[in-house]
Symmetry: C2
Subunit: 221 residues, 2 copies
Amino acid sequence: MVTSLLKQVSFFKDLSNGDIRKIFSIAGIKIYAPGQMVFAKEDLGNNFFIVKTGRIKIFTTVGGGKKKTFAYLKKGDFFGEMSLLGGRVRSASAQAMEESELFVISRKNFKRLICENPDFSLKLLHTLADRLHKANKEVESMLFHNILGRLAEAILELSKDKHTKPVKMAIDQNELAQYLGTTRVPVCRAINTLKRGGIIDYRRGELVILNQARLQSMAGN
Amino acid sequence: MVTSLLKQVSFFKDLSNGDIRKIFSIAGIKIYAPGQMVFAKEDLGNNFFIVKTGRIKIFTTVGGGKKKTFAYLKKGDFFGEMSLLGGRVRSASAQAMEESELFVISRKNFKRLICENPDFSLKLLHTLADRLHKANKEVESMLFHNILGRLAEAILELSKDKHTKPVKMAIDQNELAQYLGTTRVPVCRAINTLKRGGIIDYRRGELVILNQARLQSMAGN
């Protein structure tokens, strides 16, 4: 039953029941309170995590307290592989945004999963390739677009799991600013521009996409 | 003998002789002339490449002909895995900078290598994690540093294989500008600032690092 439950979430969807049972048998479970850090940038990293429930923010901070959010992870997403595959030090911080349960897998068991379960490796490779693609697109986008294009891109990215018509999502301006790695004022201005253009609506922390096609063309898709 | 030759280059260093023979037996070889495109962004991608000899530039272009170089690849480096692991379309362009010989591996054989050779998967995972780390650092660096810090970072990154003392490398200002995804003028200004500070010397296309420690601290390392 656990196996079939797990198969509903993205990380496990493409894995065989045998693979999932294997992961389950070697993983511990840890619970994090809202706001609790899972690890901080520069920590020594020895564990790989899969989100069982909840929401995890991956972000970095640089001198002056400026933050940049790389991703919000949810049920079935994984993180922490970077310091098991490359440098031993965490390259970003991870924090629970709400109460979250995580599967925790040690460095040794992580290597064993890769060596013994090709589907697990393939899944990891697909996800890393996808994250790399996004990071490269972000570099491009920072070089070639202005804040409006980047905001349009961020809204599309953050709302891609929402299936209501029109698309609605709860997000506050500080979160959006951190996602773009900028401050609140330019984001607030850009939001107002999109509102005046009839492309989105935004009030009391709820963003509604009114014109998806224009948002896409602004994002350069 | 081919196997022992291959073991000298980075991609093959950690692979067993059996793995290398396997790669070799299923790979074709193609030769590219200086300036020849291996593939262009948006092409359908069906092959994975390993550099046997030569130098390959990975870059992207966006409206207006602006270019951004992601990497220079040399003997033993690989590329082309992104459209075999994710979307089928090339996310960047690849071009030979000099005459280059490439091992060419089809989509089907690439999948087979992953499924049958865990060391090959591990090697791919390590490299993707490393590239992702660099891309994230670049996003950070674009958000938090000015052009001087980014130039310092690029010089350190591009010179990390040079082992002369002091470190010397041939690179022209246009290449540096493309690496940073900017134009020649700000790069030229930043180079002059570093020269005046006694941190580098640069003349006739040759860059010499005079003060590695200060370069590192400017790069935020």
